[in-house]
Symmetry: C2
């Protein structure tokens, strides 16, 4: 649905706001569409939506407001940071999108993929819930996270004006998602098994998150300049290293980790849009989705070895 929305709304040169950092796969999609992506910095409450106002003023002054099509918000336990957008900022984002929909509508694309993977912390209302007219927010969700990774059946709630174009595009692209997977999900729902399965995943992932946070404490707390986010849900721990320590695919750390210590991570810099030179280079997305507690502990130990080796 993220891709379909991009295909339907974005012409080359159109403007899309994203958080920095954000979901790197959608950055690839936007790049493929030729979008002009403007990054809004995040803090521990998600995208700093108050900064949108200033950006929009600059764009309007340049006579380009009609090119602004979309604000992309990963609202729950963002991939890669694990951070959720605060309720105040959800409301503010909708207000700003609506106030600046002057020459044409600015949509918000709410990516709520990780919503059901909540382990603790507050239950936040969706961005979509702050849009009672249902004309601004496109709510995108998936069963790939809550039911089975890579399952590739999702759902969305979209403003009426987008239903026809999105269906047309979907038909031309794949003529419909896998019937088999849809039937399987329908059976899970029909027999009342779905919520139990989600709860099982929640319990399992929560233990894994705890294992990763304990291992981070164990192996990284004594390395100066290392810190990480404690996520309330999702599948990732976002770790920052000392500023001079680069994590990219070509960095000494990545190579050492992959080749000697046999441990992988996603370099933080791929989660930023814009000029590579201007991106933070010292961050890592660590995933606790696949490994069991023992594998997580071992992976974190190995990663700390790689970090110490490169720091030495």
């Amino acid at each position: 649905l993220l891709s379909l929305v991009g295909e339907v709304l974005i012409d080359p040169g159109d403007i899309v706001f994203v958080a920095a950092p954000t979901y790197f796969v959608f950055l690839g999609t936007l790049n493929g569409l030729g979008a002009r992506v403007i990054s809004i910095p995040s803090d521990e409450r998600g995208m700093q939506t108050e900064l949108l106002e200033n950006e929009l003023q600059k764009i309007e002054a340049a006579g380009e407001l009609s090119k602004v099509k979309l604000i992309y918000l990963v609202s729950y336990y963002e991939n890669p940071t694990g951070i959720s957008l605060s309720a105040e900022r959800r409301q503010q984002a909708v207000e700003i999108a609506q106030r600046w929909s002057k020459s044409r509508r600015i949509f918000i694309l709410e990516d709520a993929a990780y919503r059901e993977l909540r382990y603790d912390g507050p239950e936040l209302p969706s961005v979509w819930s702050f849009d009672p007219d249902r004309q601004t927010v496109i709510l995108a969700n998936t069963f790939s996270k809550s039911f089975s990774p890579g399952f590739r059946v999702g759902w969305g709630i979209v403003p009426t004006e987008l239903v026809g174009p999105l269906n047309d595009r979907k038909g031309n692209e794949d003529f419909g998602s896998s019937n088999f997977c849809q039937h399987l999900l329908a059976t899970m729902f029909g027999e009342g098994l779905y919520q139990d399965h989600v709860q099982l995943l929640r319990d399992t992932y929560c233990s894994k998150r705890d294992a990763m946070l304990a291992a981070a404490e164990n192996w990284f707390s004594e390395i100066s300049g290392v810190n990480w986010v404690h996520p309330h849900g999702g599948l990732y721990v976002w770790m920052s290293l000392p500023e001079t320590l680069e994590t990219g695919f070509d960095s000494p750390l990545f190579r050492r980790a992959a080749e000697v210590d046999k441990v992988m991570y996603v370099p933080g810099e791929v989660c930023y849009a814009g000029d590579p030179a201007g991106r933070p280079k010292n961050q890592m997305r660590l995933s606790f989705g696949t490994q069991d507690a023992e594998g997580i502990e071992l992976g974190m130990q190995r990663l700390s070895q790689a970090v110490r080796a490169v720091l030495d």
Copy 2:
């Protein structure tokens, strides 16, 4: 894969050759991409590939040869006609594509979706087999027909130069097909169950085809001006009615069939590209895939009632 190839190769105004009639879903995809679609008439041996030569000469004379990107061939039991391209024409299509790849390469997109659903008749070599250099033919296949309808896992063999762009596009569109379905297929292959399942489908569909052909004989042979193709595989019987009898969604026949007789078909005219006014209007695609023999007999009886009612 059909959609991905279109996305990667086609810019608006680019030229694609298709058979008339052909698979209507891909016509929709090409239309969405802004392609200029040129129809080459089919006969009982498929697309009349010898006519490509003359079309290409005209296009070259108009200075537009560099816009020709693709020849689309549904090689086995084409949807909608059930006709297979003859071996001679397979070879001829490859020769023509290669000979006319002057300023840029003209690819052939071979859609072999129904290949495994062969009930009788000759086993034809693929179009791809006539391209030993592997630079001209894109072979697209799917398990949606041979394993489970709408399963949405496919495979292809593509020229080396297209591998990177197709993978990039696939990544931006859906980041990979359903893992779940891929694992299920891998298990079927690993345990040696796949071929048995295909044989079961072949036997089942073959009986259904026979039921539909028998019912056609039974209910339509006495209606003057009606004829149909006897397919050696696939899922469809292509029926032509008297020339003045229109079958389109807005036609009296379609409405009567759907509303009174409770039977559906795909109007033949949606399987043609180009100006709607110039398309044959008196054809129908009949599917024997879903109904059992009894349902097929009943459906054909009902359809013949509708035809007789409208002819009266």
